[in-house]
């Protein structure tokens, strides 16, 4: 049975969540099609057709799709939905915006944030901010899903894999219900929070915006790590909104996550549970973060961070 993946990309390359989705697709069916929506997609098409596991690349390429919105993407998918048993994407703000609209227009339910595939219609997903895991089974003819990628290795590029490319029909213009105006991206040379191999995060005990940067910055530099923050640190203005790690911020699953001065609220730990190794540094030996971490240091972060920075 065929599987359709809605690709998330930045205009030049596929997001890692999409490559993880391609790997997950092998558990769902035997033929994986990848849908690219955008403008001037030639570079992306080349990448997509070499992705190991992709058998066909569907392309919706038109000037008005350059910053395509859910209102215009969803009808492109609903037109072809009947040919697929599963339509899904990695779990990202893009797919979470588009795919529920697709599901409703196709008159099927949707299952968000799948963390484990049991069979093509049975899945595990977190509920209550990750405090519980529910197993759900769908009787719908088409499964619409987002899959949290951290359990699946990103599919590799294989020059020998040259998937077919098929252009799908695109209306001459958009619906103009919603119009893209502008965007702001976190300005940093460091890796994106959601994709970094190492993430270091700070809590409110960093004390100020200046100290937050001055203390964590050099260590992040050395480790080539992304910098995250607890909700409390973000609310206090020490770190920007998009640095927030947790169920209500960015969910991360790096190889190494180090939490400095973060007590470990439920919503924070829910966002880091899929990390390979979690290290907690906190002065309070009873901080809940120690209950879910792999390694702990009961120590002052202002002592630990400079030592770590020098030693790595």
């Amino acid at each position: 049975m065929s599987i359709l993946i809605l690709a998330d990309h930045n205009g030049h390359s596929l997001k890692i969540s999409t490559r993880q989705a391609v790997t997950a697709a092998k558990l769902l069916g035997d033929e994986t099609h990848l849908l690219l929506v955008g403008a001037n997609l030639d570079e992306l098409i080349e990448e997509a057709r070499q992705l190991s596991g992709v058998s066909k690349v569907l392309v919706a390429d038109a000037p008005h799709l350059i910053h395509a919105v859910a209102e215009d993407i969803a009808p492109l998918i609903t037109c072809i939905a009947a040919s697929y048993r599963t339509i899904f994407g990695g779990h990202s703000s893009f797919t979470r915006d588009v795919l529920p609209r697709v599901a409703a227009m196709t008159d099927v339910s949707m299952i968000s944030d799948v963390i484990e595939i049991l069979d093509y219609r049975t899945f595990k997903r977190p509920i209550y901010a990750g405090n519980l895991v529910s197993t759900v089974q769908s009787d719908d003819p088409i499964q619409v899903l987002t899959i949290r990628g951290s359990r699946y290795k990103p599919s590799e590029l294989n020059p020998a894999n040259t998937a077919d490319v098929e252009r799908i029909e695109v209306p001459a213009q958009g619906l103009q219900l919603a119009t893209w105006q502008s965007e702001t991206k976190q300005s940093s040379d460091r890796p994106e929070l959601a994709n970094a191999r190492i993430v270091i995060s700070g809590g409110r005990s960093l004390g100020s915006q200046e100290k937050f940067q001055a203390t964590l910055g050099p260590l992040a530099e050395k480790l080539n790590a992304a910098i995250g923050a607890s909700r409390a640190a973000v609310d206090a203005g020490y770190a920007p909104n998009d640095a927030q790690v947790g169920q209500t911020g960015t969910q991360v699953a790096p190889d190494l996550y180090i939490a400095f001065g973060i007590s470990g609220s439920i919503q924070h730990t829910a966002g880091i549970k899929d990390s390979k190794v979690i290290v907690a540094v906190n002065l309070d030996p009873d901080a809940p973060i120690f209950q879910i971490a792999d390694y702990g240091l009961v120590a002052d972060l202002f002592d630990v961070i400079p030592q770590l920075t020098n030693a790595v």
Partner: protein
């Protein structure tokens, strides 16, 4: 301009939930229930639009039983004008809610639906987009800033790695992020006054014949546990563990 705000009654987000004894559902019996936090952001924003003179009426709706009166009263005390309880004891799922909302919107004819981006029980995050899709309306999801002028809503959305600005043709469905605002506290006199505001009841089946859920929960369990941490005594020990034991440095 009329704004409709759906509100869900959920287990208070500070409370730890557990599976039922048979491991097939979440045991919510006897737990403290509250308005879904993201829905409070949606109500707050709607009331601010009314206070600014942009909106003329704020109508709330909740789906469930008489016990949902408490969350509706909460929203009325925050400043909503009136409330509707759509009565059903069925579990509806996001698609079921979106379909009922669509049927209600055909009667109420709001210009804007403001709702939370997800509920903190199911964490599905689907109903706003589904509703917009069913209505063929514009959608603004995960919104942290909203301004309205001349039949257009300008929104700033929280997206992976930054923000995105869109303009939406009204009518539209907008889903609120926590950062949209800080919901006001409800004062006792407002709560007393809210008791005088009307709550209308509608049987869900009169809006739409309800179908059985296509997605069934077959098990609920605790997540795989990790930790507790191995407590180390020095930075050197930590580096050694990360390099030689865990192999991540």
């Amino acid at each position: 301009m009329k704004i409709l705000v759906p509100i869900k009654r959920v287990v208070d987000y500070n409370i730890q939930v557990h599976p039922t004894a048979d491991g097939k559902a979440v045991d919510i019996s006897g737990l403290k229930m509250s308005p879904n936090p993201f829905d409070e952001n949606a109500i707050e924003e709607a009331i601010r639009l009314k206070e600014a003179g942009t909106a003329s009426e704020v109508v709330m709706v909740s789906f469930g039983t008489e016990s949902n009166h408490d969350v509706l009263r909460h929203g009325l005390a925050m400043g909503a004008d009136r409330a509707i309880l759509v009565k059903t004891d069925k579990t509806l799922g996001s698609l079921g809610i979106a379909k009922l909302l669509k049927a209600l919107i055909e009667k109420e004819a709001p210009n804007l639906v403001l709702m939370g981006k997800q509920s903190v029980d199911d964490d599905a995050g689907q109903a706003p987009q589904m509703l917009a899709g069913l209505l063929g309306w514009a959608q603004g999801t995960f919104v942290s800033q909203l301004t309205i002028e001349n039949q257009t809503a300008h929104v700033v959305r929280e997206v992976d790695g930054g923000t995105e600005s869109l303009s939406l043709k009204l009518p539209a469905v907008i889903s609120a992020d926590l950062r949209l605002n800080a919901p006001r506290f409800v004062k006792l006199p407002n709560l007393m006054m809210a008791k005088k505001k009307p709550i209308e009841s509608i049987e869900a089946e009169t809006l739409l014949p309800l179908k059985d859920l296509k997605v069934k929960t077959i098990a609920v369990e605790y997540p795989a546990s990790r930790g507790p941490a191995k407590i180390l005594n020095s930075v050197d020990e930590l580096i050694n563990a990360l390099k030689n034991e865990a192999g991540v440095l």
